[in-house]
Amino acid sequence: MNDTLRKILAPLLFIIGILAFWEWIVWYKQLPDFRMASPSDLIPRYIRFWDLFLIKSWETLWRTVAGLGLAVIFGTLIGMIMGFSRFAREGLYPILVGFNAIPKATVVPIVALMFVGQHDFNTVLIAFMISFFPIAVSVSIGLSTLEPEYRDILRSLGASNFTIFWKIALPKTLPEFFGALKVAVTLAFIGTNLMEIVSPHGRGLGDLFDSGRISADYPLMFAVLFALAALGIVLFYVVVFLERIFAGWAERSPG
């Protein structure tokens, strides 16, 4: 079997196997669909709620990306401040660690109450809060561990600090940055969904999920899970794609 064929066929086979097992166990146990959904129940839900799925997915998607975008901007900014100034690093680091230690699931109800009804705002806010920590830390570590020789080769020619940042520090930090972004994108997605599920009459796929929960529509809830998975995969691979473009040099060629 050639390589590309195996790369497509192997996961496909396993997916079909797992779905078949799931279908079989629901059929064998004779579980009604208000107790457990089977894969064959999902298709009618997708057909029936297709419009809703599209609208809600879009809502979830753009709010995740907006929160992540803010996290990238502020995280990079704070990371830069911490990376270049030891004073700022020592002052900010404990605060960041403490902030990150708070489970964001507990912050969600607070934010939901604080900005009640402002669905877009509070969702983006949570997505931002949950995802900016890894970005700030990775950028600050990337910058503060820059070997002095790298700075010196440009500084000895009279280059400005900005030139050194732009030509050396920034590109050199990109691999760490993208590593953090892969974590951050997943976190932002979790944040968005938490808020969507918790805030009453919310938006996005989280709201659709909540509707399924309230009406004990298991197949709908499972259908939302699969839609979320699809969205999460797309988001993750967009980051991987960007990483290949901007930090592909960091990947060692095999052999």
Binding site: E147, E149, Y150, D152, I153, L154, R155, S156, L157, G158, A159, T163, K167, I168, P171, K172, L174, A247, W249, A250, R252, S253
Partner: protein, 281 residues
Amino acid sequence: MVSGITFRKTLMTASAHMIELRDVTHAYRTKAGPLPVLDRLSIQIPENSFCAVVGPSGCGKSTLTRLVSGLMRPNEGEVWLHGQRVTSPRPTVGMAFQNPVLLEWRTILQNVLLPMEIVKSPMSKAEATERAHHLLDLVGLTGFAEKRPSELSGGMRQRASLCRSIIHKPDVLILDEPFGALDAFTREDLWCTMHDLRAEEPFTCLLITHDLRESVFLADQVVVMSGRPAHAQHVMQVDLPGKRSLDDLYSPKAVEMLATLRHQIQVAQGRTVDDTAEAKA
């Protein structure tokens, strides 16, 4: 005091040296108080000559490179380059370190051309690229211009780093143990490359090294620094005329020079001649 000032003024106008350190004294601030590194260090390097500085570990050799390149200013004393007092980095200086510090996201050619993006040079982009290719040929990296640093061996990276350090035609080249981390054969190879580069275009060179053979093979003048705080303990002119080959290192003259240097280093380390005699006995 008055005579000291007039002395300095005379030198200011009449400095015939490309690199000159005058009574340079420097100390680092540490938690345990000031750590004196250099103590009235004076070195003169004529234009287009090659000076190697050797000395025991931690005697302030790297501090010396940072002072000459203008990355640091001495507490006391003066550093002069090309008849001008050094107060800040100058684009007419080239530097290479033990770590070749190539930028991994750039090709070798782009790495070599890096200084051209900082320094204002009369060279056009095309001329600089042509020069980069020429230098790469000269150091034996023909055909590697489009490769990434990760595809090169340690010795090849150091060659590329050398090309980068002279791409902008600096009049002063500062080398801080550039061959220190290489294996013996690669090192000797690169020594010869250094001679080829110098034959191609003249520059004044300050080399920091631990390797006495390297200093004798490459330099016109070897300065032995004393232990910390360091001054110039011994200055030796290397009198090996003509094109040098590695075989010259085994000539009686060179062997004698190496013995002198070894002795001077032992003195710098604080091991007196008597001590070595005792150890032997």
